[in-house]
């Protein structure tokens, strides 16, 4: 089974990468773009027989994201 985990910066954490892209888009005339944020998606191929959502949550929280600045969700 393939499980997707989406990780993104929490609201209020300044994301210079997204901000740079936003400013570039604005400069190119796409003035309607108010903000750009960047998300990461991890795709985990999990052995069906041993799938345990709690363990996947631990991976997402303790390793794939830094919960101080990032939030995560499992996308099915």
């Amino acid at each position: 089974m393939k499980i997707k985990i989406r990780v993104q910066f929490k609201d209020g954490v300044f994301n210079p990468e997204g901000d740079t892209i936003k400013r570039t888009l604005n400069k190119l005339g796409y003035k309607e773009i108010r903000a750009v944020s960047i998300e990461k998606t991890f795709v985990l191929d999990v052995d069906d027989a041993h799938y345990d959502e709690k363990r996947i949550g631990t991976i997402a929280n303790d390793i794939l994201s830094n919960p101080v600045i990032e939030s995560w969700e499992i996308v099915k």
Partner: protein, 224 residues
């Protein structure tokens, strides 16, 4: 007091640190591979700069799950000291051994240059040989050095080094990466864990400048 320099795949300032400490009189020093589980013979562990495990995921994020890192909290509890330089600072923040986090530089770019650093505290074992307010030059070389505290009102006492402009003032122009309050380095509440972005090990001899010698000498004077 034996010093251990942690080596992760992708570390690239481990040799600089070895040179700097040896050059300043520390003979009992050796490299420690990241899979080491026993640190009891050491008094100080250096987490050097570089790109541990390619800095995949986030800077320092893979390194903190290695064996040596799992042992570090015990090591500190039993009296050990830790200095994280650049990537090592990123590891300490990522693991929450130091408060706060490091984001990409505000200008998005890798910055490699000499900066002016002001000493904010000299009551630590790492900085007692400096004067408060003393300004020293150290090189920085990083993309992810934009330090942000979790709680701004709690960080004041932890600040050891700040970026200043060439007149010694805390200004925006003196802040290379967008760090909150021009923070370049902090220490934990126990006084055992120091993290900083500038590479003091690269200015620790008479050829490249000896601004960083004070950190090594302070530590030797206090602990030996």
């Amino acid at each position: 007091m034996r010093v251990g320099i942690a080596v992760f795949p992708g570390s690239n300032c481990d040799r600089d640190a070895m040179y700097a400490f040896k050059h300043n009189g520390v003979d009992e020093i050796e490299y420690v591979w990241y899979s080491a589980r026993k640190l009891s013979k050491f008094g100080l562990i250096i987490l050097p700069g570089g790109f541990s495990f390619g800095d995949y995921l986030r800077t320092g994020a893979i390194a903190i799950h290695s064996e040596i890192f799992r042992e570090l909290p015990n090591f500190v509890r039993s009296g050990g000291y830790v200095i994280g330089i650049c990537n090592g600072f990123q590891m300490l923040a990522e693991s929450k051994m130091l408060p706060g986090f490091l984001l990409r530089n505000k200008n998005q770019r890798f910055i490699s240059k000499m900066v002016d650093i002001r000493i904010e505290r000299n009551d630590t074992v790492f900085t007692s040989n400096y004067k408060i307010g003393e300004i020293i030059k150290m090189p920085i070389a990083h993309t992810t050095g934009n330090y942000q505290p979790i709680d701004a009102k709690d960080i004041g006492d932890n600040i050891v080094f700040r970026y200043v402009d060439n007149e010694g003032n805390l200004t925006k122009s003196g802040n290379p990466n967008g760090s909150y309050d021009n923070i370049a380095g902090i220490i934990d509440n126990s006084g055992h864990i120091l993290g900083l972005m500038p590479h003091f090990e690269r200015v620790s001899d008479e050829y490249l400048g000896n601004y960083g010698v004070g950190i090594i000498r302070s530590f030797i004077d206090n602990l030996e």
